[in-house]
């Protein structure tokens, strides 16, 4: 087994490349297994409103599997670069290509076996734990239906076998194509940048900005998802092209300046020019990974922070009774009150809202035009309230002269000018009501306005509409669990045919299931993105460190001190790390405007909250990223130093 001995030696020699690959491979195996096990073991079979979560699970598995495949190929490419240098030596000594392929195949099989054993072991270990975590996050208090799926284990082993098979295939093809001379010289050429490719630059900007503008312009909620995907595609291509073009321009500019001949610039600029294409590709990759991490984390965090608000929005009171005034209202809300008494439940904070009419409208200057298509974007929902009803419901004594209105909104946003037109009549805002015990089911994705006006005008302009009444109660004392359940069942059965009674409690359970599932998977995705980002950064530095090592040794011999080397290395790392972070922040900004609109449609929660959460996410991420850059910079420096630099201490 001569070949396998060489393979093992190779693994040992390249351990600072292979160990991270092995760790990442095992973790990714474990993550994939955990998700697949949840899908296969059908843990949510008997849980209401959990089918959404199962769909999320499947999507997340798809995403993580895709990332796994891409990453494995990417990382293996780095591995094979450093491996090839040694194998080329064997080849010089007379080993043929078939034998070299054999060595590499043995190496790949060894890593495959190791990652699968460790990964599935980890996966099984953490599978139960993460299922428990997921159930906890969903606030499901029934006994967990967990089991280990043998099928999932087999499927994972098969999936990774296929991935490795393709990796081995690719490596073999590469070796058969390569000639010896290339083996040795593959890293030594400086890419030629005589002319700046302006046309390519313009095209890349156009692609990038088309992506951004798409993200900004789309307002129609139905088109948002496809447009989002298209924008993502354009931005990915645009980022790669822009990074490649941008680095040419920047380096060309820096090289032309007098300060190029400052030692701190001299080495950095030349080094970056030397491997222009490779470094711009990996910087663009890092940028996109950062963006993915940021978007996942901030959307997840926004939903997490907004979950209570979503509930509050849907449930201004814990018990909501909804009926139409004429026939059933006293009956229904009265019944709920008496039923509560019967079951020893104490209610409080009764509030009522009567909406006499409501219309959707589109704004044109200050003229609101009624519109019937509910899917149109930028809609205003006017809820008309007769002032007599308003006074009765709120115990107030407001008065209005004709063609004047009061209005209020959810967050006291000032959305109306002093004068505006609606139903071809000009209205004057008397006042915006700010301290209202807000009690309404607002329509998501629209600007909801509550308009109080005189009976006469209400009848004149909105005469053909029905009156809806919302009653709301909070619960002072829920009594026992059983009593509360009886109360809910009793009220609900009476409501049938008379209107609706709904309980925040029930909704809360469903919401928790969906949100908990979403948060869990978002968190998992974020961890995977983060892991991959860190590894790509590490591999980039490692590759640069390896290719720079000999150069720094020579420079040290000519008289560059170790501390100087360290300074230059750190500077290079700082500069090249800054670009991906800045661009991913820009990407996030545009992604955010689109996602924010999407989120607004799912939930009309406070947009300021999302902005704050996203900014905090960005800040935290920047710190983590800086630490990562610093650490990978250290790897780079230690590689260069690697006791070859002249720092022999003892005489």
């Amino acid at each position: 087994m001569f070949l396998s001995k060489i393979a093992r030696n190779n693994i040992k020699a390249n351990k600072n490349m292979i160990i991270p690959f092995f760790i990442a491979g095992s973790l990714l195996t474990a993550f994939n297994f955990i998700l697949l096990n949840m899908i296969e073991s059908n843990s949510f079979k008997n849980i209401v409103s959990a089918d959404v979560v199962t769909i999320f699970l499947k999507y997340s598995f798809g995403i993580i599997l895709a990332i796994t495949v891409v990453f494995m190929f990417y990382a293996d490419n780095y591995l094979s670069q450093s491996r090839n240098r040694e194998l080329s030596l064997y080849s010089m000594l007379g080993m043929n290509k078939r034998q070299i392929t054999g060595v590499i195949t043995i190496e790949e099989i060894l890593t495959y076996i190791a990652t699968q054993v460790v990964g599935i072991f980890l996966g099984i270990g953490f599978s139960k734990l993460s299922s428990m975590l997921l159930f906890k996050m969903m606030s499901i208090d029934m006994k967990m239906n967990y089991r280990l799926s043998f099928k999932a284990i087999l499927e994972i082993i098969a999936i990774f076998a296929i991935i490795y098979l393709f990796i081995i295939l690719r490596n073999s093809i590469k070796i058969y194509r390569l000639n010896l001379q290339e083996f040795f010289n593959s890293t030594s050429k400086t890419e030629n940048i005589k002319k700046i490719p302006w046309i390519r630059g313009i095209i890349s900007f156009i692609i990038l900005f088309t992506g951004y503008i798409l993200a900004l312009m789309t307002k129609n909620p139905q088109k948002m998802l496809p447009v989002f995907l298209l924008a993502v595609g354009l931005v990915i291509v645009g980022i790669f092209m822009t990074f490649s073009f941008g680095s040419i321009v920047v380096l060309k500019f820096l090289k032309g300046r007098k300060s190029y001949y400052k030692i701190k610039n001299f080495v950095m600029i030349s080094g970056l020019t030397h491997r222009l294409r490779r470094s711009s590709v990996s910087l663009a990759t890092i940028c996109l990974l950062c963006t993915a991490t940021l978007v996942t984390v901030s959307v997840t965090a926004c939903l997490f922070a907004g979950r209570n608000q979503i509930l509050e929005e849907a449930y201004p009171r814990e018990v909501m009774v909804h009926s139409d005034r004429e026939s059933k209202k006293e009956n229904l809300s009265g019944y709920v009150e008496s039923s509560a008494k019967k079951h020893d439940i104490k209610l409080k904070d009764h509030a009522r809202l009567s909406i006499d009419a409501s219309i959707s409208a589109k704004k044109d200057e200050n003229n609101f035009k009624e519109i019937s298509n509910p899917a149109a974007s930028d809609l205003y929902q006017f809820n008309i309230i007769n002032i007599d009803n308003y006074n009765k419901d709120n115990g107030t004594n407001l008065k209005l002269s004709s063609n004047k209105v009061y209005y209020y909104t959810r967050n006291n946003d000032e959305v109306l000018d002093k004068k505006f037109k609606l139903k071809n009549n000009e209205w004057t805002v008397e006042k915006q009501i700010k301290d209202n015990n807000f009690l309404a089911n607002s329509q998501p994705g629209k600007t909801n306005i509550y308009l109080v006006m005189n009976s006469k005008e209400e009848k004149k302009y909105f005469k053909d509409k029905d009156t809806f009444v919302y009653d709301g109660f909070n619960i002072k004392d829920t009594g026992s669990k059983k009593q509360f359940q009886n109360f809910m069942d009793d009220s609900a059965s009476h409501a049938a045919g008379n209107g609706f009674v709904s309980f925040a409690h029930n909704e809360y359970v469903a919401l928790n299931i969906v949100m908990g599932g979403f948060l869990f998977l978002g968190g998992l995705l974020a961890i995977v993105f983060m892991l991959i980002t860190a590894l790509v950064m590490y591999y980039r530095q490692l590759a640069e460190g390896l290719s720079d090592r000999d150069d720094y040794i020579v420079m040290n011999e000519i008289g560059m001190g170790v501390s100087q080397v360290k300074k230059i290395v750190q500077r290079q790392v700082n500069w090249t790390s800054a670009a991906p972070l800045i661009f991913s922040a820009v990407n996030l900004l545009f992604a955010f405007t689109l996602l924010n609109r999407l989120l607004q449609y799912i939930t009309p929660a406070n947009p300021h909250l999302f902005i704050e959460v996203t900014l905090i996410t960005l800040l935290v991420f920047a710190v983590v990223y800086a630490v990562l850059s610093f650490l990978t910079g250290r790897v780079y420096f230690s590689l260069i130093k690697n006791n070859k630099l002249n720092d022999r201490r003892e005489g």
Binding site: Y261, N556, N646, R648
Partner: protein, 248 residues
């Protein structure tokens, strides 16, 4: 005062300090200002080791090395890096050019390292590249050059800073006879205008360009011969004679 003073220098790589483990044993010699010295000896005799000590790339186990008024063996890392930068020029057996730089930038590297103004050296650079025949190669990268061309670029880099001392380790080792003859002539020219040079070589022809030849055997200076008034050819015959003596 002599330029370079090597006093009872010994060197061992191992920890065990028995007599046989010494690569260099009690080396003593001095180099005067403007001298051109060759060091010869068979493979493994310790020539490169000695050169590394002088270059502050390594430290002697015993003894002292003095360049001008500076004690070379007492320096710490950053002092020795600065010292190399400010005082020494290197021409190594492997050319040690950096592929990330063009030849121009490779030659200017010592200037940039010393934080001097590059523009002040334009004239010097032009002069050197004319003498070394590098005018058309300056914008190329080292991997685009032949071995001899690379060696000349390395020589230009060693000379640009007008160093106190040039250290060369088999500078002609990889060159054909006519190219090495050119390089040796150039070195001799510089020596004639006052440049101090210390060169390790296997070639008697190369050594015949210098003023003095030291022979090293088993880590000690076995013999040395001076040129005196001899021509290159006469000195060459003398060196060959001395070499055969060395091998007995």
């Amino acid at each position: 005062m002599s330029k370079l003073e090597i006093k009872s220098v010994s060197k061992t790589y191992g920890k065990v300090e028995n007599q046989s483990s010494y690569v260099l044993k009690n080396i003593n010699f001095t180099v005067e200002e403007g001298e051109y010295i060759s060091i010869m000896g068979e493979s493994g005799s310790g020539k490169t080791t000695l050169l590394n000590l002088l270059a502050t790339l390594d430290k002697p186990t015993k003894g002292s090395i003095q360049l001008g008024d500076q004690s070379v063996d007492q320096m710490n890392d950053s002092q020795s890096a600065d010292f190399r930068r400010d005082n020494l020029g290197f021409i190594f057996q492997k050319f040690n050019l950096l592929n990330i730089f063009t030849c121009r930038d490779n030659i200017l590297l010592p200037i940039v390292l010393a934080k001097k103004n590059v523009e002040d050296y334009t004239a010097k650079l032009n002069d050197l590249s004319r003498k070394l025949g590098l005018e058309d190669l300056l914008e190329k990268y080292p991997y685009q050059l032949s071995g001899g061309q690379q060696q000349r670029v390395a020589a230009a880099r060693a000379l640009i800073n007008s160093p106190e001392l040039i250290l060369a380790d088999e500078p002609t080792g990889a060159l054909d006879s006519s190219t090495s003859e050119k390089l040796l002539d150039i070195l001799q020219d510089f020596n004639n205008s006052g440049q101090t040079i210390l060169m390790v070589t296997h070639s008697a022809i190369a050594a015949s360009h210098s003023n003095r030849v030291l022979f090293i055997k088993d880590g000690t200076i076995f013999n040395q011969i001076y040129r005196g008034d001899m021509s290159n050819e006469e000195f060459y015959t003398k060196i060959v004679e001395a070499s055969t003596l060395l091998n007995e």
